[in-house]
Amino acid sequence: MKLKALLQQVLEIKGVLSAAVVDSDGLVLEGVSAEGTDLSFVGGAIASSLASSKALAGLLGEGRITQTMIEYENGPVLMTPLEAEGKEFIAVLTLEAANALGRVRFQLRKLLPDLALAVTQ
């Protein structure tokens, strides 16, 4: 399945407002949004945040980030790394409210393998 169609499925999870996949250089590969939000400019900062998170993981003697969640005033953001063919990507979701987090994480987990496959196609 194509990346856009999979992100559309992510967007159908109750509580998800937007979803995008960003590569480790900050390029937004694809993004979908319930409200037509332009996600194209978040990539650079996400890549930079990922680089610092990796350095932090290194300090703690770890190699892998499993998830990052940030609570903002108007809703949380969930970032989940995707690994495909040795390259790194990040699935970025903005959510309606923090109480959607458990459900979204549960539903997203089922879609992650397909998302990882789709980013390289």
Binding site: V42, A45, L60, I70, E71, V77
Partner: protein
């Protein structure tokens, strides 16, 4: 500082507790085996990037941020002009519970404002 942070110092699985300035300078650290300067610099970098990324989307200012690693969880909480960082062992804790965090933040705010 220690007395303000006392509720967090008692959480199960705590690895390190750090208070740092927004530009990445450590103010106080409790914990072993970590270099406070490096930890503070990386945390400040993460907080800067995530703040920049989503503020433009109309999400407002960032609050608590949790980075989950394979064995550790790192919570970054903005407090006044500082960050409070809690590093915990994933196997023993999901990070500080909201009520524990709340009971720490108010005295810490007062302390960092110089009102205590």
């Amino acid at each position: 500082m220690r007395s303000a942070l006392q509720p967090l110092l008692g959480i199960d699985g705590l690895v390190a507790l750090l208070v740092l300035t927004r530009d990445g300078l450590p103010v106080e650290m409790f914990g072993y085996g970590l270099r406070a300067e490096q930890l503070a610099a990386e945390v400040a970098g993460i907080a800067r990037s995530t703040g920049k990324a989503f503020r433009a989307l109309g999400l407002g200012d960032p609050g608590r941020q949790r980075i989950s690693l394979q064995s550790h969880g790192v919570d970054i909480i903005p407090v006044e002009d500082y960050y409070l960082v809690v590093v915990s062992d994933n196997g023993r804790s999901d990070g500080p519970a909201p009520h524990v965090l709340e009971s720490t933040l108010e005295p810490l705010r007062l302390l960092l404002r110089g009102e205590r």
